[in-house]
Symmetry: C2
Subunit: 244 residues, 2 copies
C-alpha cells in the first residue's frame, strides 16, 4: 500500500517536521480532487485572476513570464511535491503563467480547505510555510545566479539544485536523475540562448563533470561540479528535521 507518507509532498515536509498520523491524514485530505493536465496547456495564464492552488503529485511544470517582445523567462520549475500558485490563492491576479512540461497529475486545493487544515494542524501549517519560504529562497538564488554567475557556473548550479530537490522527494541522487527538460527550457530558465546552452552542456560533458542527455542528468564528478558552481545548499534548508 502506497500510503500518504510516501507521497512526494509528505516526504519533503517530513524533512522539516516529523508529521503525526493525524497530520498526515489532514494532508491526505488535501489530496482529494485529483486532476490531470496535458503538456503545454497553461494551468494559469499571466493576468488571469487565480482561484485555486495545486499540489503537484506527478510530472514537472514551469512558471514563467512572457515579455512583450516574445522572449520568455522561466522563473522556476516545480517537481512532484511542490505547490503551484500557493501565493496567489489569497491574492490578486497571477503575474505569471504556469505550464506543464509533460502530462501531470495535481490535486486542486481550495483556499478554504487550506485554511481549515492550517487551523487544525499548526505543525502542518508550519511545514507548508517552510516549503513556501524555501521556494522563495530558490527564486532569490536564481536571481543571484542570473546577476552574478557566468554560463558554466549557472548551468552547474542549476543541475545541482534540481538534483538536491529531487533527492528530497526520492527522485534523484548524487549520481543523477531523470530530467524531462529540453535545452530550450534550460535556456529560458538560465537567461541564455539555446545554442549557448548546448555549448555549455558539451563543455561540462567533455570536462567530465556532468552529462545531460536523453532525458537524464548524470553527475560524472559531483564534487568538482559543486566546486565549479560554488554550490552551497544552505538556502534549501533541507539538512535537518529540527522540529522532531
Amino acid at each position: 500500500m502506497n500510503a500518504i507518507e510516501n507521497s512526494p509532498l509528505a516526504r519533503k515536509l517530513m524533512a522539516f517536521v516529523a508529521l503525526s498520523a493525524g497530520e498526515l491524514a489532514v494532508l491526505e485530505r488535501l489530496h482529494q480532487r485529483r486532476r490531470t493536465f496535458a503538456a503545454g496547456r497553461d494551468l494559469v495564464h499571466q493576468g488571469q485572476p487565480e482561484q485555486a492552488a495545486y499540489i503537484l503529485s506527478e510530472g514537472w511544470v514551469c512558471s514563467y513570464k512572457i515579455q512583450p517582445d516574445g522572449s520568455r523567462q522561466i522563473v522556476d520549475f516545480q517537481i512532484p511535491g511542490d505547490f503551484l500558485g500557493l501565493r496567489s490563492v489569497l491574492l490578486q491576479a497571477s503575474d505569471h503563467s504556469i505550464e506543464p512540461i509533460m502530462q501531470i497529475e495535481a490535486a486542486e486545493v481550495l483556499a478554504d480547505d487550506l485554511i481549515t487544515a492550517f487551523a487544525e494542524t499548526p505543525r502542518l501549517a508550519m511545514a507548508i510555510l517552510w516549503a513556501a519560504s524555501r521556494d522563495e529562497a530558490m527564486v532569490v538564488e536564481h536571481l543571484v545566479g542570473l546577476g552574478r554567475r557566468d554560463a558554466d557556473e549557472r548551468m552547474a548550479h542549476f543541475l545541482l539544485e534540481l538534483g538536491a530537490r529531487l533527492e528530497l522527494v526520492g527522485m534523484g541522487s548524487k549520481s543523477g536523475y531523470d530530467c524531462p527538460l529540453t535545452q530550450y527550457h534550460l535556456a529560458d530558465a538560465l537567461g541564455l540562448s539555446a545554442v549557448h546552452v548546448n555549448r555549455v552542456l558539451r563543455q561540462l560533458r567533455e570536462d567530465g563533470l556532468a552529462t545531460f542527455r536523453a532525458g537524464k542528468v548524470t553527475f560524472d564528478n559531483y564534487d568538482r561540479l559543486v566546486a565549479l558552481a560554488e554550490f552551497d545548499p544552505a538556502y534549501l534548508d533541507q539538512a535537518r528535521p529540527f522540529l522532531k
Copy 2:
C-alpha cells in the same frame, strides 16, 4: 499632527484596502519600539538566525547576497513603508543580508505582536499579505530583467519601478524623486559593472530620457522611458483599492 495614516506603510496599505480607525490603531501599535540604525552596518547578516522583523519608516536599505568570490548581488531595495525580514520571522536562518544605505529609522515588530494584530484585524492582515506578495512579484520581475533585458532596458525599468513605489508612499512623482543610491548600488542590483552603469546612465541622459545625478532621479521623458523599458506596472498591483 502627523497621524498614523500619513506614515508610509499606512499610505501604501490604503492603496489596497481602506483601513478603519481601529485598524490604523493596531498598525500604530506595531510602530512602537522605534530604533535607529547607522548606514553600512548590517541589520541582518547572511546565515544568522533571525528573530524580529522591522517596518522601515525612514531611509533606504538593501537586501543582498555575497558570493564566495566576493561579488555582491542586491536582491532588492526597501524604502519607507516596507517590511524587512518579514518572511524569515516564522522561519529558519536568513539566507541574505540587509544593510542600511543611509541612517534609517525602523520599528521592530515581534512575531507575537504580528500574530496578535493579524488575529484582531483580518483586513489589516490581508493588506500586509498583499504587500508581501507584491514584494515577491518585484523579486520575480527583477529576475526577469536580469535574464531577458539588456543593460539600457534594465536601468530604465529599475528607475521606473522605484519611481512607482516611491509615488505610492508620497516620495516621488512622474517627474522624478530623490535617490540616495550610488552607481555601485545600481551595478550590484542590475548585474552590471559600475563602469557600465555609468555609460548606461550617460546614454539615458544624452537621449533625454532620464537623469541620475546628485542624489536625484529626473524623468526627462517619462513616456519614452516606459517604452524603452517596456514597463508594465501591473505586477505592482497598485492601481486599485479593491476592498473598499
